[in-house]
Amino acid sequence: MELLFSCIRAFVVGGILCSIGQILIDHTKLTPARILVAFVVTGVLLGALGIYTPIVEWGGMGATVPLTGFGYALAKGVKEAILEKGLLGALCGGISACAAGIAAAIFFGFLVALIAKPKEKG
């Protein structure tokens, strides 16, 4: 039962975040690349202000899977690194926290690009 509720919460939070993205696509001239950048930077900002933590606690993967969650992870990583290493943490905390995601994208991206055939341009 707990699993069902956590899935419903993830669905609601993830759905709302994607709807905000869709509103930006439909009603502004922002390109997808700019929307991705905006979501990550917003995630850092909300993480820094402590607003995103309760959203993650309630929404679970609904909050961490969207790109705002990537920004939140950057902010969280920096915060922890600052406490541990001082000012040096500002530089090494963020990317360390997101290293697995970035490396995974590079690894799987390389493998797929190697194996798959590019789409025929019609």
Partner: protein, 147 residues
């Protein structure tokens, strides 16, 4: 034909297809929410396998990135994205697709300046501005902690 910029803007607005938000927003909500539910189910599975919360969260991201990469390679991702709009763009799947898709497309231009460079066409700015924002936050946090 001499027209002002404002007039041109009006014409362009009339000519561009109407976006039907009553259709696009629900599909973005359902697909995006659905991707997060898949994430939540994977999270529960990884927790059952004995991983701690942080590792399980990271592994969910990695799994969704791998899945998006495969679907992009098979040409399926684009078909879902056409229907889902921001539903596939906003989750980590959009980031993964933004890495794989140009890498695949520009493979013919070589491994270094084709695949290697174009991989970061969209992911690059995302990492750059995300990291910059986090560095500013770190510096501010460090200064606050001095007092």
């Amino acid at each position: 034909m001499n027209i002002t910029q404002a007039e041109y803007g009006e014409l362009a607005k009339k000519a561009s297809p109407n976006t039907k938000s009553y259709k696009t927003i629900p599909s973005a909500f359902v697909v995006g929410g659905g991707i997060c539910v898949i994430g939540q189910l994977l999270f529960a599975l990884y927790r059952d396998l004995g991983l701690n919360e942080d590792s399980a969260t990271t592994l969910v991201s990695i799994s969704l990135i791998a899945l998006s990469a495969i679907l992009t390679g098979l040409g399926i991702f684009d078909n879902i994205a056409k229907f889902a709009g921001a539903g596939t763009l906003v989750p980590i799947t959009g980031f993964a697709n933004a890495v794989v898709s140009p890498a695949l497309e520009f493979k013919s231009e070589g491994f270094v300046l084709g695949l290697g460079a174009k991989m970061f066409l969209i992911a690059g700015p995302v990492i750059v501005y995300g990291t910059l924002a986090s560095i500013f936050y770190g510096i501010i946090l460090w200064i606050i902690r001095l007092f």
